[in-house]
Amino acid sequence: MYIAPEKTRTPSGGQGASRRELIVGAALVGGSLLVGCSPADIMGAGAPKTDFGAFGPFIKIDADGAVTVMNKHQEMGQGNHAGLSAIVAEEMDADWSTVKVQHAAANAKVYANSLMGVQGTGGSTAIANSWMQLRTAGATARAMFVQAAADAWKVPAPEVTVKDGVVSHASGKSAHFGELLADAAKVTPPKSVKLKDPKDFTLIGTERVRRKDSLAKATGQARYTQDVYLPDMLTAVVAHAPRFGGKVKSFDDTAARKVPGVVDVFAIATGVAVVADGVYAARKGREALKVEWDDAKAESRSSAQMLSDYQKIARGELTPSDDKWAPFTTKGDATGQFDGTDVLHATYDFPYLAHATMEPMNCVAQVDGSKCKLTYGAQGHSLDQMAAAMVVVNLPGAIEIETLFAGGSFGRRSSWDSDYVVEAVQIAKRVGRFRPVKLVWTREDDMTAGHYRPMAHHAVAVKVGKDGYPAAWRHRVVVQSFAKASPMMASMMVKNNVDSTTVEGTAGSPYLAATPVVDAQVFTPHSPVTTLWWRSVGATHTAPVMEHTIDQLAARAKIDPVEYRRELYRRAGEAGARHLAVLNLAVEKAGWGPLEDGWTRGVAVHESFGSVVANVCEAKVIDGEPRVRKVTVAVDCGIAIAPNQIAAQMEGGTCYGLSAALFGQVTLDKGRPQQTNFDTYRVLRQNEAPQVETWIVPSAHPPSGVGEPGTPVIMASLPNALFAATGKPVSSFPLVKA
């Protein structure tokens, strides 16, 4: 969600160069290029000096020997509290039952995401970027305990063993971590340590790796931003412009200030803030507020008009001056290839989507002069520190962040403009004296504040060879680019005028690798409507486009869609090898072929964030709406650390994608979002949720992510199942029209 790789992972598990190039771009953050400084140096500048203790910034050990792992990432549901702490526990041979995990502080110098260069969670990278770092931290701590025991017992270190936090020697000597703690802390950490051979893992890959937060979350004790109550704290809401790009012209706060509990009313950059002693008073104050808006630079079109413009752009009938077509995959000579009758034409329309996390955006801020503390479900720590630092005029590392659980994110809490964080800091700055201010967005604020999955239109033409397989592929994508909306993001993610997040999944597709002639281009029209990564990012539209086009080609060639894919993966060579494996596994476990009573199966395969996922779904139209009863998922995510949580992410990712495919859309009427809450923005409910069964491809490769890759595949397999039933292709989403 944060950064999307344009290159697939190499078989050796090395990360694509594109990710590292992003780090260079990150050095531009804040508009200043500091030559010779790493992004982490810039983002960490001003950080307080911290003594992390003998075992470094990731491991703390209590006097009783219990190990606490510091999670530099955000646990927003994806289960990284479990996976990350299991990596440490495995190499340490700690007692997993007593291992605890906490969110770490914001400090880019020690907690940078090694795939981003700065501290942040996204792009399904938490496990992947921490893998070697946490294994090394765990193995180092283990070596220190072993050495301490060897010294105390006067035995050779190689003869000392560790199991479940107990250090032992064949002589019968034995001590738990707590008993050796003081001595181990004095051991000089070894410069290099031997990591375990994965075949010797006893925790990783087992069902024992379970969540550490389930009890807190089942008892209402888990702490979210909404739950922060500090002495003397104020609550703020903001009246936002009804249209994207609108500004405050004037406001009358006479009535608002008379509402009991309202403390202050003032304008900030994005609207008018109402500060009160509680949520209900703040909201009543805002209702009493009269604001006149300046919409001169606001989006005033309807989304229907915008989509119509996108379609015209794709057909070459309209060329807005704010962008130009950018080729992203080119092979051979496409001239004149798409004029004949042997060509399949397909178009696809995708609406704006809200993330609609269960906990709306919010942030607690305290400001006194240039001193600033934030308490919230931080996801983009470094970017938020930089944005806050610019408001209070300080160094980014000096902005203190206490990270809490986030009530869902799906990409939303890490926005390129730190939108709600900046609002909170601006309000707290005005309040001053370090008085805590909780900025609360209502559901309506959250849903109408944009940062949507961009609207998109694809136009595909595939010339079919005599054998029924693609001979030439023309692809036009028209989609808003959020990377281009911010110079900082553009420097990281736009190359040759291509924002990689707008085309990933079409770019890099094994189907294009298997096609001799390709002409694929993207156009990114501008709008004041803010857009953002949304769980699986570009794949949310490229996966359904590629996979549904394949099913149409297979039908045209009268070849079974599974067989058709297998042939294309073979033709794609290495680019299709992992796809073939997950496809075969999903089909084997799901069964393939006709079903009874009007149910049909659909299949899809897609790679995102280094993981490849296939699923087979069973669908039927009931009472006019598609229903999915069962989804069989196969996933290749490298070494599986927490199989139970990988399954949870496939289950949840499938529901998230299914919800969007069936119901998700934000439409604009004269620039105003028409969906404001769950009564108008329909999402998947218990009675509509399928049973998801997950199968993991055994792998010796380093782990890749699972938070996002499950999501886009159902958005493709469901249309394929419906196509199998009716022979009518799907050309627009959502499938259930409001």
Binding site: S214, P260, V683, R685, Q686
Partner: protein
Amino acid sequence: MSIELEINGVKRQVAAEADTPLLWVLRDELHMTGTKYGCGIAQCGACTVHLDGQPVRSCQTPVGSVGAGKITTIEGLGGTHPLQASWVKHDVPQCGYCQSGQIMSAAALLAATPKPTDTDIDAAMSGNLCRCGAYQRIRAAIKDASGELAVTAKA
């Protein structure tokens, strides 16, 4: 105005306008944060509490309408309810924000229907949204707590 409420068996005095939703009294006045705000219009179920044993959406329950009714919140289940153990066993939560409401709806379901069918679960639980999509584990955990372990549950 001062209002007396009985919450989890304890009488509490709160100062609030009568039209204030019970949700905001629980949270802003009493700092009982287990009950969550999700939508404010009774569409998501995150704010579900029991009023005299019945599940209600506290965001749409004016505090002045509660009277002598007995309120039970997630804190009132005490961490010992069979559903809470089942939630842990199945690792139901992801982000966890909706789970207080899910468990309160499920607890009311089991109190009225100790052995719920899938249809019963659909009827009782479809008002509680989970954006993480933990639905199948919620279903499995309810069945497990009721003694009817779902055969399809993997967790």
